[in-house]
C-alpha cells in the first residue's frame, strides 16, 4: 500500500467577501456542541472557536471604514510542528499532526493549566470556567460526533476534525486513501453564505486554498499572492489560515507593521 502523503489542511478567508454576518460562528457552535450561558457579553469567557472581529481604519466620519475578520484556530505549524501551544503543553493534550497539519485538543488529557492559552497569540483557545448547561430538552440537538467538554479544560477550533475522520472512514470503506476537496469541509466553510471561507489541502496545488494563497514552502508558507496575508506573520508561528483583502489598510492590520514597512513585500 502506498504511504499516505502528508496533507496540510488550511483555510483561505476572503475578507472582501466576508460580510461579518456571523453564520460561521453559529455553524461552528451548532456543529461542535459549543455551549452558551445566559450572559455572553463578557467576551473573555465567551467560548467561540470561530470569532468574527471587527477592524476599523481609524479614520473619522465619513472616511471611516470597517472590515470583518473571522478568526478560527490558525493551526500553526511553527517550525516543524512546534506550534506555540503544542510546545508548552505539559499534558500532551494538544499536538501537531504532521499527517494533516491539524492541531488537536484532547479534552480528557487536558488538566486546565492554560499554558497554551498564554502561548497562543491569536486568543483562539478558551477555558471552560463552568460546566456546560443546556436548557432542559435542548441537549437533544447535540452532535454525537463531538464530545461536549467539561469544566476545567481548554477547547478550541479543531478544523472539524471529526468530519475528516468521517470522510476518511468513508474513503477507506471505498478502498481509497485520497480525499476529494469537497469531501472534507469544515462547518463554517460549508455554511458561509458569501463563500468567503475556503478550506482544503495547502499541499495540493489543485486545491483552491493553495491556488489562492500560493504558500511559499521556501519561506515557511508565506503567501506569494500579494493580496494575501497571515495574522502576525513575523512572529514565526507559521499559521495555516490565510486572509485575502484588496484593501491595503486591512493587510497592514494583520501585524504591527512600522509606517515605512510594506506588508506585501515583507519577504
Amino acid at each position: 500500500m502506498k504511504q499516505d502523503q502528508a496533507r496540510k489542511y488550511g483555510m483561505v478567508i476572503d475578507l472582501d467577501k466576508c460580510t461579518g454576518c456571523g453564520a460561521c460562528m453559529v455553524a461552528c457552535m451548532a456543529e461542535n456542541n459549543v455551549p452558551f450561558k445566559e450572559d455572553e457579553s463578557n467576551k473573555l469567557d465567551s467560548i467561540t472557536w470561530m470569532r468574527v472581529y471587527q477592524l476599523t481604519n481609524g479614520k473619522s466620519y465619513p472616511e471611516t471604514d470597517i472590515c470583518y475578520i473571522p478568526r478560527p484556530c490558525m493551526h500553526c505549524e511553527g517550525d516543524h510542528g512546534h506550534s506555540p501551544c503544542v510546545s508548552v503543553c505539559p499534558a500532551t493534550a494538544t499536538d501537531y499532526s504532521i499527517k494533516t497539519g491539524i492541531v488537536s485538543q484532547i479534552y480528557t488529557r487536558c488538566f486546565g493549566c492554560r499554558y497554551c492559552m498564554g502561548a497562543c497569540p491569536y486568543h483562539a483557545r478558551y477555558f471552560n470556567w463552568w460546566d456546560p448547561v443546556w436548557p432542559n430538552g435542548m441537549e437533544k440537538y447535540l452532535n454525537p460526533n463531538v464530545s461536549p467538554r467539561m469544566r476545567g479544560v481548554v477547547e478550541k477550533c479543531s478544523f472539524c476534525f471529526h468530519r475528516y475522520q468521517q470522510a476518511m472512514n468513508k474513503a477507506f470503506m471505498e478502498d481509497r486513501r485520497e480525499l476529494q476537496e469537497n469531501e472534507y469541509q469544515t462547518a463554517c466553510t460549508q455554511a458561509c453564505p458569501s463563500g468567503a471561507i475556503l478550506f482544503g489541502d495547502l499541499n495540493d496545488p489543485k486545491h483552491q486554498v493553495s491556488m489562492l494563497a500560493q504558500p511559499d514552502s521556501e519561506h515557511s508558507g508565506r503567501p506569494k499572492n500579494p493580496k494575501a496575508f497571515r495574522l502576525l506573520e513575523r512572529l514565526g508561528t507559521n499559521p495555516k489560515v490565510y486572509y485575502i483583502s484588496s484593501r491595503e489598510w486591512v493587510r497592514r492590520a494583520g501585524d504591527n507593521y512600522l509606517k515605512n514597512e510594506n506588508p506585501g513585500k515583507a519577504h
Binding site: C21, M25, N33, Y61, W134, K140, P144, P148, C192, P193
Partner: protein, 741 residues
Amino acid sequence: MKMDRRSFLSFVIGGAAGINLSPLPWKLTDDLAIWSQNWPWTPVPKDGEVTHVNSTCFLCPGGCGITVRKVEDRAVKIEGMKGHPVNDGSICILGLAGLQFLYGPSRVRTPLRRVGERGENKWEKISWEDALAEVAKNLSDLRSKNLSHTVACISGYSGGTVPGLFERFLTVYGSPNFVRTPSVKDSYELGLHLMAGVQADAGFDFENADYILSFGCGIIEGWGSPVRMFKANSRWKENGVKVVQLEPRLSNTAAKSDQWIAVTPGTEGVLALGLARVIVDESLYRREFISGYTTGFNELIQNVLKDYPPEQVSKITGVDKTTLVSLARAFASAKKPLAICGRGKGAVPESAGEVMAVLALNALVGNINQKGGVWSVPGPLSIRWPEPEMDAQAAGGMQKARIDGAGGKKYPHIRSLLHRVPDAVNSAEASPLQTLFVLESNPYYSLSDSGFVKKAWQKIPFVVSFSSYLDETAQNSDLILPNHTYLERKEDIPGVEGFHKPIVNLMKPVVTPQFNTMHAGDVIIRLAKKLGDPIGKAFPWEDTEACMEELFGDKWEELEEKGYWFNGNFEPPPLNKSFETASRKFEFMGEGFGAFYKEVIVKAPGEEAAYPLVLIPYDTPRIAGGRIANAPFLTKTVPDTVIKGKDGFVEVNPKTALSYGLSEGRYALLSTPKGSARVRVHLFEGIMPGVVAMPTGLGHAGYDTYLSGKGVNVNELMGPVEDSASGLNAAWGIRAKLSKA
C-alpha cells in the same frame, strides 16, 4: 523466621518491585484516570443512524431550502439544501440556530389559559378540546350579537394555505379584518400597481445587474432573501459590479459597498428624484424605452423634477453636487443598472413617493421587466379556493369597513395597515375589536409607540395567540393555542421575498411534534366545524394537508417530493405586454398618483428644538428582529458594544458625544417624544453626526432568560408616521435627545 533489617528491606523492595512488574498499578492508574474523567453531568449525545430531511426555513421570508441532519429521532443540525434555487447549500446565521427554537425553553408546550391578570404570565394548562370550545363559544356569541366584524386576525404572512384558511374563516364568519404585518413588499406592490398596473410582487434580477444603487437597503443585513443576497453580493465582487450604498450609517452593507454615500436620513426619495433630474437634463435616459413603453415622462419633468435641480437636492440630502452628478452619470451609463429601496431588512414600508421615485429611476434606464432589472412577479401558482357559501351574517359583516381603513376609499390600493389598529381601538368608546387572533406575528412587541399599543391592547376583550413560543403577544393574550414549529409541520410558503422567479416552498415535519401543540391550520378547520354550518361547510377538509392537496392539485406531488415547486424558465412578459395600466404603458405620472411624488419626504416625528438628534433603528444579521426573536447562539455573537450585561448601547458619533459630554460606555438617557430609555453610549465614527442609532430586535420581555431584558426595544421609542399618500407606516426614525444619566 527472624525478621532482621536486611530481610525486611528485601521484602519491601522486592514486594514493591514485584507489584510494579505486575499489571496492578497500571490497571489502578488507568481506573483512577477513567474515574476522574467521569463527568456524569456532562451530556453524552447518543449515537445512532444518521438521516437527512429536506424542508424549508420559515424564520424569515427568505424561503431557503434546508437539510436537517438527524440522529435517530433527534434533529442535530440544520444546513442549507444543496441545489435549492434560492440558497443552493448555503444558510444564514438565524437558519443555523433553528434547532434552538425547536428544543428551546420558550416553547409553549400545551394550550394555556390565562389565570392571573393579563400580562402577569400566569397560566393553567387546558386540553385542546376545552380551548377550542372556549374560542367557539366566544365566536358564536359575537356572531349572534351581529358583531362578527369585530373579530380580526393579525398575521405575519399571507399567500399560503394556512393564512388563507384564516382569511377564509374570517370571510365566512363575517369579518373583513385579516391584517398582515407590513413590510417594504407592500410599498413595492403599491408602486407596481400604480405605475405598471399589475398586481404582483416586485422581483429583482440581481444576478444579472451590473450596477447596484441601494437606497439604504441592508443587502447583507437581511434584506429580501438573505442568503440569496449574500451570494449575489459575492458574485458582484467577483465580476466587478459596483455597489453604491446611500444611508447615514456605515452598516455592514455600506462597509462592503464600493462607495458609501451618507445621506440625510429620510431624504433618500429626494436623492432618487435628483438623480432622475440629472439623467433627464443630460439626456442619459434610454430613449427607446421612454418613447415606446412609457407615458407621463414630460409631465414628470414639468411637475416633479423641476423642483429638484442638483443644488436643491444637494441642500436637502447633504450629498454634494459633484457626487450627485457623477453618481447619476455612473448609474445611467451602466449596462444594466438597478436601484432598490427598503431600509435595513425592509421590515418597514417606504412612502409611496419614495418607492415611485426609485421605480421611476429604474424606468429611466429602461430596466423594468428586463434582464438585470425590476420584474413584476405574479403569484407562483394560480390557487383557486372553492367559492364559499355566505349566509346573511357573513355577507353583512364583509360589507363593514375594515378596522384599519385599508382598501377603503382613502387607501384603495393597500391591503393592510396594521399600525392603525391601536388608534382605531383607542379612539372608539367600545373597542371595535372584540376578539383578536394572532398568527406568526408579535405585534405587542413590534408595533411602535408601545404605551399607546398597550392601552389599546387592554381594551380588546379576548386575544388568542397561535404562537409556538412565549413571545410578548402570547404573554399578553388570554388563550394560547400553540402552533407546531416550522420543523414540526407541513405547510406551503408561496413566493420568496424579492425573488424574481415564481416559487412555492414546502415546510415538512422534520421531527414529530415535541409537545402537545397543533397545526394552526388544523385548529381553524376544527374550529369552523365546531361552529357548524355554513362556516363548517366552507371547510370540507379533514386537515390542512388535505386542503393543500386539493388546492395544489397536480402540482402537489412534485411539491411534496422535491420540497419546492419552481418555475426556473420564468421570463417577464415582453414590454408591449408588460403593463396593464389604462395606457398599456409604464406611467411615470398617472391619474390620481402623480401628486404622491410631492410627499416623497417622510418627516421624523418630534420638534427639533426639544429633540435635536435623530434616532434611527438599524438591522443587523446577528439579531433577529421580526416575528421570531433571537436564538441564544445569535445573542452570543452580538458584540459587547451592542449589549453588555443587560445594557443596550446607542451608537453616537464622537463629535456628537463630545458636545453632550458623553464618552464610550457612559450611561445616558435617550428620550424621544414617545418614551425614554437608559442606554450606554458607543462611539462610532461610522454614523452621521446628529444621528444616533440602535439595533432592532432587543429589549424583549418575553422568550427565555437568554434574551429577555437585554437591551432596549427600539419600537418603544418610535412612533408610526403615516405616509398620507398610501396610508402605510413609513417611519424610518424619530427625533431624540441624549443626556447624561
